[in-house]
């Protein structure tokens, strides 16, 4: 804006100091924002209305089946399968991350190869491969392979190997985020390699590990539903068993949807507290 346009703006250029305090500030009216909000709310209203007034949802069936024994058993299996897979996946992933960062070129290569391989194979393909492993090795340690690799064992093995590949990268990123000076200080104090990792590096790495790990946990929780293809009776499979009998497909899928939403929300709350714990000593904690 040139100086002569400025000069033409019809405002009082001289505000007497004693008046400055009494001037009222009028916020700019954002009409666009209001319009957008109204449009979105109306559309949302139509959507909610269509759900509530559509009898095909059969909300009474949803309510009946929500806490049905087989659904709860399926939910329980989903929960413990997720827990087992995450614990084993992160244990293996942490080991792979340490391998990847070690001075030993063979360990580094093995870790890199593992992550490359297991990130490349779709989890569904992997589950089907483990499920049919008996075709490759009919007997393992003198036991029939099909007895050893029950559907649930296949689910645990397949999901763990899959999660470990991702966990390895998450943990490695976390370790790399810790300042090099921290490790040097620990070395200068004579702390053992193990102590340096557990006491100094990992607790600090957790700050950058927790958010993606929370993502992975929620992903794993929902991801376990894929085991329904090998007939493991998780939450989804249990619901499917019911609707294959009763043909109440939508209400049962709503039961599953609501349960997943509830558990995911609880996990989100948990993540908040875990993040707070590992922010100790940082600005975020104060």
């Amino acid at each position: 804006m040139s100086s002569d346009t400025l000069a033409k703006v019809p405002v009082d250029p001289q505000i007497p100091p004693e008046r400055a305090e009494t001037l009222r500030i009028v916020p700019h009216r954002r009409f666009g924002q209001w319009t957008a909000a109204v449009v979105v709310l109306v559309l949302l209203g139509f959507a909610v209305d269509s759900v509530l007034r559509n009898d095909a949802f059969q909300w009474d069936v949803v309510a009946d089946c929500f806490t049905a024994d087989s659904v709860l058993r399926g939910l329980w299996l989903t929960l413990w399968l997720t827990a087992v897979v995450m614990v084993l996946g992160f244990a293996l992933g942490a080991l792979l991350a340490v391998f990847r960062l070690s001075a030993n070129p063979v360990l580094r290569a093995v870790s890199w190869g593992y992550v490359w391989l297991f990130r490349s194979i779709p989890i569904l393909v992997q589950l089907l491969l483990w499920f049919n492993i008996g075709a490759l090795y009919p007997h393992v340690f003198g036991v029939k392979t099909v007895d050893l690799f029950s559907p649930i064992a296949v689910a645990i093995i397949g999901l763990t190997l899959h999660e470990a590949a991702y966990a390895a990268e998450v943990v490695r990123g976390g370790i790399l985020s810790v300042d090099r000076g921290q490790i040097e200080a620990a070395q200068a104090l004579g702390l053992s390699r193990w102590r340096r990792l557990w006491r100094i590096v990992l607790p600090q790495a957790m700050r950058s590990i927790v958010p993606p790990a929370g993502n992975m946990l929620i992903g794993a929780l929902k991801g376990t539903s894929i085991v329904s293809v090998i007939a493991v009776s998780d939450l989804l499979f249990s619901a499917q068993l019911i609707y294959h009998r009763t043909y109440q497909v939508i209400p049962l899928l709503m039961v599953v949807t609501i349960w997943y939403t509830v558990v995911t929300s609880l996990l989100g709350v948990g993540q908040y507290y875990v993040e707070k714990h590992f922010a100790r000593g940082t600005k975020a904690a104060r």
Partner: protein, 253 residues
């Protein structure tokens, strides 16, 4: 007086860059040696080599009569396993330019970490010692704070207490005041002076000429990976023989 640190023809290069080109230096027990020199002169590398944070390419360093990082057999030096090196490091305190306190541990936990986990001392004993040390650096009331809640000067004083908690026979300080705001330099130097007064053996890399003049028994001037000049502060600082030293001092004084 006995020799605490004995450095013999130490060479070190990073790739094609020769950082240390044959360093010989002796530090006597109870003395304070201040190492001065322009950045890139190799003084920090030398200090880090003394506790084996940096491996040298040639030459040998011993502290208190013990070869650091190696075992000698005939005319060969065999590298020690890390476990042994870590044990040697517990006898040498190291203070870093940017403190490197552990941010997730309280001040007290920072100080007791090494005595408890590396020296296996009973926790209670280590805590009592740590409180005494924190009192000595004037931070008795900060034991339960986290490093992030302290000023730079306070953090560096905690770092000194942490190094002293191992009861080291030698203290190495790598530019302990370079990361501090000017008004915080004094409090850290006071703590170091206090230690010097109590007979601690120290090697201090610094740019604080006034501190060197006041506290050092020996001033070492390094440039381009070599020791150019060494002697009592009065000689090196006020009557330097080498032109290199004169040029450096005329810039920093």
């Amino acid at each position: 007086m006995s020799v605490m640190v004995d450095i013999r023809s130490v060479h070190k290069s990073f790739g094609t860059l020769d950082v240390l080109k044959g360093i010989d230096l002796q530090v006597r027990t109870g003395e304070v040696t201040v190492v001065l020199g322009p950045s890139g002169s190799g003084k920090s590398t030398l200090l880090r080599a003394i506790n084996h944070l940096e491996k040298v390419d040639r030459g040998a360093i011993s502290v208190g009569g013990t070869l650091i990082g190696y075992r000698r057999s005939g005319d060969k030096l065999y590298e020690l396993p890390e476990r042994e090196v870590l044990k040697q490091r517990t006898r040498i305190g190291f203070v870093f330019q940017d403190f490197n306190l552990f941010p997730h541990l309280s001040v007290l936990d920072n100080v007791i970490e090494a005595p408890v986990s590396a020296l296996k001392r009973p926790r209670k004993e280590a805590v009592d010692d740590a409180r005494r040390l924190l009192d000595r650096v004037g931070l008795a009331d900060k034991a339960d704070s986290y490093p992030g809640q302290l000023s730079g000067g306070q953090q560096q004083r905690v770092a000194i207490a942490r190094a002293l908690a191992l009861k080291p026979k030698l203290l190495l300080l790598d530019e302990p005041t370079s990361a501090l705001d000017p008004e915080l330099v004094g409090e850290v130097l006071d703590v170091i002076k206090d230690l010097a007064g109590q007979g601690a053996t120290m090697i201090v890399v610094t740019h604080e000429i006034g501190f060197a003049r006041e506290v050092a028994d020996t001033v070492v001037f390094m440039a381009d990976g070599r020791i150019v000049e060494q002697g009592p502060p009065a000689q090196v600082l006020d009557d330097p023989r080498s032109e290199r030293t004169q040029a450096f001092l005329s810039k920093v004084l």
